[in-house]
Symmetry: C2
Subunit: 95 residues, 2 copies
């Protein structure tokens, strides 16, 4: 059984605009920390800070190539959750 606090703990990852922006930037694309920073318009430090949180929650995974570390989404479900949410919000807009 999944408990209520586990759901909260997990969805907390998407409660911050910066983190959602980073996750969306990684959909269907593998990016380095600097690439992400450039793409979302944040500093390297801020991106690193948020990536650690997303990594700890297993939302993103990474691989190293020399000094560069590349990040990707860890699971297709992540995509589904954001898509479902997006559709819900889209539908609500017409009300």
């Amino acid at each position: 059984m999944v408990e209520y606090y586990e759901i909260a703990e997990f969805l907390k990852n998407f409660s911050d605009a910066s983190r959602v922006k980073i996750v969306l930037a990684l959909i269907d694309e593998e990016l380095s920390v600097n690439d992400i920073a450039l793409k979302v318009g944040m500093t390297q430090t801020a991106v690193s800070y948020q990536l650690r949180i997303l990594r700890d929650s297993r939302i993103v995974k990474h691989r190293r190539a020399a000094q560069t570390i590349y990040y990707t989404i860890d699971d297709e479900h992540i995509n589904k959750i954001l898509t479902t949410t997006s559709e819900h919000l889209e539908e609500r807009k017409s009300l």
Copy 2:
């Protein structure tokens, strides 16, 4: 188009254990504020505080009957988002 910050703003509602608990308590059941407080083991004030947030985000709706105010989930999508998340977490547990 749904923007990244709208997704974050919406999912922020489920980033707190108390709110998730309250929303889960309301699935398939209409409850008064006091009923909710009893069911989830929180004070009336704390429940009221969280209900306002959920109301403002249109996640729950309410109707008045004399002094009592009854709350329900505003949309079936809410259920779906929590279910999808729950399934995702359930699957991950076996890894």
